[in-house]
Assembly symmetry: C2
Homo-oligomer: 457 residues x 2
């Protein structure tokens, strides 16, 4: 284990430069979903590649994909027994609309109080720059005691459509011991935390077709099956009274939470009040027998994401709709798999849809759930680093959301991901006035220095 003090001192002296570098990166409007920003995606990728070259990484490339390119680079100078860590990040950002709600222009970084406001500040250019600065501090002082590879993509905000193929194509180049995924956060400015689990996703579109065309609901109502009513019945039937999902076999592969898991979750500062405040809702709901934190992070769920049928404008139109559509997604926990849940939904539809309608189900998006073993060396090392920097023990949280790349890495490379990032729940991700809490930026650099220096070699 390296003594990181000289690197920490270096990083402290370099905080001004780190902030300026981050601002420079944030000025590139790399909105991946908007075709007119394609040149900005290239600029952002080039910015990352240049930064990696500046740190002395080798084989730095901006590799093409079917969409936006992936930046790759490697530092393989450590001794043979040293671990190889693959750093994952993304240089793309979300759109900025509604622009009028921003207090300062989204691509002109502005500091107010202890926060740096800009699109991408927390999600996740700030995390990338923290990692670059941590590496720089070690390289310039005590030395980097392990091997690092970087894979920084440009399509995370549009669902990483090219990444699975990229990983498959570059499997040997990406070989590593584990992935350090910086696209994460902590529970609060004073709550050092590690994410040990993510939920998976199976996202469906269900389409119900009744009569060939829309009908007059006066002339035909009562005698002809109404696909919107059918859809409502089908969706209602997907949960039982206890809030459990009724799709056949849905829970068959669910790994039960251990008493230890539940104790960890119970210790988190995420009571009902916390969830209600975060969600801006007056009441919680969900599966009987579980806490809100368990429901939102560690139990599989089924939610309607969209409904559309018939006439939805102002006023009344007496139409008996020909079609009804629902977007329905399930969040998955280990060891559920999207394709199994797809089959469960199909079986449910075969059993429950009346013969008076036709139906189709499309699987629109899929990602595996993941969980990381708390006793692994990288998790323990990260926990110590967080505790040392924050001066209090790290908590182990689970996230209800999905980071598809984690499942891809697991599937294609057989490697686990350590989620270690420094964003906050109120950083306005994907919303106006995204910010990064600067004390977290600096503590993030320190944490990463301590983590990289302390990984067992």
């Amino acid at each position: 284990m390296h003594d990181p003090q000289s690197a920490l001192d270096y990083a402290r002296q370099q905080r001004g430069e780190a902030l300026e570098d981050l601002k420079e990166f944030l000025r590139i409007p790399s909105i991946s979903t908007l075709p007119e920003h394609k040149p900005d995606l290239v600029r952002a990728a080039t910015w990352v590649a240049d930064a990696l070259r500046g740190l002395g990484l080798k084989a730095v490339e901006v590799l093409p994909t079917a969409g936006h390119p992936v930046v790759y680079g490697e530092w393989l100078q450590a001794k043979d027994s040293a671990p190889t860590v693959l750093v994952y990040g993304h240089y793309d950002v979300q759109p900025v609309d509604p622009l009028n709600l921003w207090k300062s222009p989204p691509f002109e970084p502005a500091i107010r109080g202890e926060d740096l406001f800009a699109r991408g500040a927390s999600d996740m250019k700030g995390q990338i720059v923290a990692q670059l600065k941590a590496m720089e501090a070690l390289v310039k002082t005590a030395g980097l005691p392990l091997n690092l590879k970087f894979m920084i993509e440009g399509e995370e905000e549009i669902g990483s459509p090219s990444l699975a193929a990229f990983i498959k194509q570059h499997r040997s180049k990406l070989s590593c011991d584990f992935c350090l995924n910086l696209d994460s956060g902590v529970l609060g400015p004073d709550i050092p935390s590690l994410t040990t689990a993510l939920r998976g996703l199976a996202y469906f579109e269900i389409r119900i077709q009744g009569p060939a065309g829309d009908l007059h609901s006066g002339i035909f109502g009562g005698a002809v099956e109404n696909p919107a009513n059918v859809l409502a019945r089908l969706i209602a039937g997907m949960h039982d009274q206890a809030g459990r999902v009724t799709l056949p076999g849905f829970y068959d592969q669910v790994r039960a939470l251990t008493e230890g898991d539940r104790a960890d979750l119970a210790e988190l500062p995420q009571g009902d009040d916390w969830w209600m405040k975060q969600a801006a809702t007056k009441a919680l709901a969900g599966e009987a027998g579980f806490t809100a934190t368990e429901r939102a992070t560690s139990r599989p769920t089924l939610d309607v994401n969209g409904l559309l049928s018939g006439f939805t404008g102002v006023g009344s139109k007496t139409v008996l709709p020909a079609k009804a559509m629902a977007k329905v997604s399930t969040r998955l926990v280990p060891d559920q798999r999207p394709e199994q849940v797809h089959e469960s939904l199909l079986e449910y539809m075969r059993r429950s849809a009346p013969p008076t309608v036709d139906w189709e189900v499309d699987l629109l998006a899929a990602a595996l759930p993941s969980v990381i073993d708390r006793s692994g060396a990288e998790v323990r090392t990260a926990a110590v680093a967080l505790e040392t920097v924050w001066g209090k023990p790290a908590v182990y949280k689970r996230e209800g959301g999905t980071v598809p790349v984690v499942g891809m890495m697991q599937e294609a490379l057989g490697i686990k991901s350590l989620m270690l990032g420094f964003g906050l729940p109120d950083d306005n991700l994907h919303a106006p006035n995204e910010k990064f809490h600067l004390p977290n930026f600096y503590r993030g650099i320190d944490t990463l220095i301590r983590f990289l220096a302390a990984l067992p070699t």
Copy 2:
């Protein structure tokens, strides 16, 4: 009773003129919902007023309303004991889009085979001209043995928003023995038929509000109530397994069908095949214990007319929606009333909506159901007229749709409406290639002559 033969002979000689008059009327694009057609509505109203004046009616006026004007005129020259009949019609028409599906321009009447194609041909300029020509034939020959008033509105196709106020304002002017409502049809070209009942309407918008704003379904899914799932449960709960509506008290005021009513309906040439063909559907559905005709015309129903929530575009967006909306309408039968059904729905929502969401219900449209006594003189007279012209007995049908003016007349003036018109189920009402079957146009004129001549004075 007048001998109508001279009038029938006159009408036969005048068929060419009748057709030309109808074409002239059809060339006016009186689309009531499109503001740019406002001058055409005035032209159409003026066309009707001029036609009434040409027939010798008095007090012909184009009376303003908050929307498009109503044409009024009266012929009060019959002896004191003669009945006064108020003729109802509308000079406005539906929009024509999609225009590219029309085989000939919608406002350039074209004859193909035995059909006259134009927007408004069947709904309902053809019916109005048939009535004008029947009156003309009597006036010019045997004489008109009764008093007639005309009330021809210009907003039927947008729900007659100004008519209730108009009727209230002109109550004494509109006094009459019954209303002859020409906005109707027969079951087939060879099936003389009379409509003896219409369903009423109570049309609602239900809005469910969950969290204050849309949430990420990964982060919050499972712990926060999803208003789209709640809406689906609420809609699903509005019917039981037997297809009956579960709103509390919904059936309390429903007048049961008599054995006679059911026998009449069973005699209609409207079997399951007929309904499936009309609806272009492969299967029927509905309340257990009733035939398709009974369900569609004589039983109250509840249908979803529209659904909207969350993300409905292409692809997947993992949103937990803040809101969900449904348009839900009920069709009513005697003696249900819209305001009672409104209260039933509110009570259902109070009992069934979970406390985890807020909800609102708006009543968007309301109309009373109506039924007419088959033994009344005007019904019997119309039946004889139909039988004489068609050479076979008329059938008594019920219509599932709603004609709001019928309820308004009943409420404001205490008068019944006789529905007598000559459209066909396949006339493409509200659709491209609307047509009027010309043999029905001429038989309609003859039927109206016989009816007007034979009404007991």
